[in-house]
């Protein structure tokens, strides 16, 4: 079965550069979530989208932005990168219920490992 696809899998950037992470949800999933997991930390929710609209916002820095496109894929844009942004970034997708965001299982992608030097 198709899974959540994230690209790139690894990314190395310098401080103050920008990065764009991409997420392709499981087909027919309309809800996408982004999580950040620092070294030795538990995953922290960043932001989510349902039917191309932002549905919830967590601990996402103002330097980051995200959107969900008409084909339901999502991109996380990160600017003015800092050393502390080095982490694993996970995308998850789920199938939303009619009229609202998802309440069912979230399926996670393999993650993008971002290293900021």
């Amino acid at each position: 079965a198709a899974g959540v696809i994230q690209s790139p899998r690894h990314l190395i950037k310098e401080k103050r550069e920008t990065a764009t992470l991409k997420c392709y949800p499981i087909p027919r999933h309309d809800t996408v979530y982004w999580y950040q997991q620092g070294p030795g930390q538990d995953p922290q929710f960043l932001i989510s989208f349902y039917e191309k609209m932002q549905s919830d916002k967590g601990s996402i820095p103002d330097r980051f932005s995200a959107q969900q496109f008409s084909d339901y894929h999502s991109e996380l844009n990160m600017s003015s990168l800092e050393l502390g942004d080095s982490a694993l970034y996970f995308c998850a997708s789920s199938h939303g219920l009619a009229g609202g965001p998802a309440t069912d299982t979230q399926y996670f992608g393999p993650g993008t490992r971002l290293t900021v030097l």
């Binding site: 979530y33 929710f45 549905s55 393999p110 993650g111």
Partner: protein
């Protein structure tokens, strides 16, 4: 403050033994999910238990949920070396708030000794 707290933080057992991990949470939930993560790798969904369920089984996994105590347990029976990983509980608050996210606990690091 963190929604999910897991206990123990680390667990080391002999292969073949059973492993029990506990998770406590603070607010009402829609469902609770358990995930597994090998070191530096992706999160793998193991099992979801809804707030109106008390127990659920999947293979060697058994999950219980006690909403009155706001706690859940994950039991892995007949452990194998390949079960070595971190295990996270995650709570879904969707029904009780505008949130459409799940909140992860701090995880239990399980080591299986051969």
């Amino acid at each position: 403050s963190q929604q999910g707290e897991e206990d123990p933080q680390a667990l080391s057992i002999q292969e073949g033994e059973n492993a029990t991990m506990n998770c406590s949470y603070k607010t009402s939930i829609n469902n609770l999910q358990w995930y597994r993560q090998n070191s530096g790798r992706g999160l793998v969904h193991l099992i979801l238990i809804r707030s109106n369920e008390r127990e659920k089984h999947s293979g060697r996994l058994r999950v219980t949920l006690d909403t009155s105590k706001k706690s859940s347990s994950l039991l892995i029976t007949a452990s194998r070396a390949a079960d070595t990983a971190s295990y996270f509980c995650a709570t879904d608050l969707s029904r009780y708030s505008s949130a459409s996210k799940i909140i992860f606990g701090s995880g239990t690091r399980l080591s299986i000794r051969p």
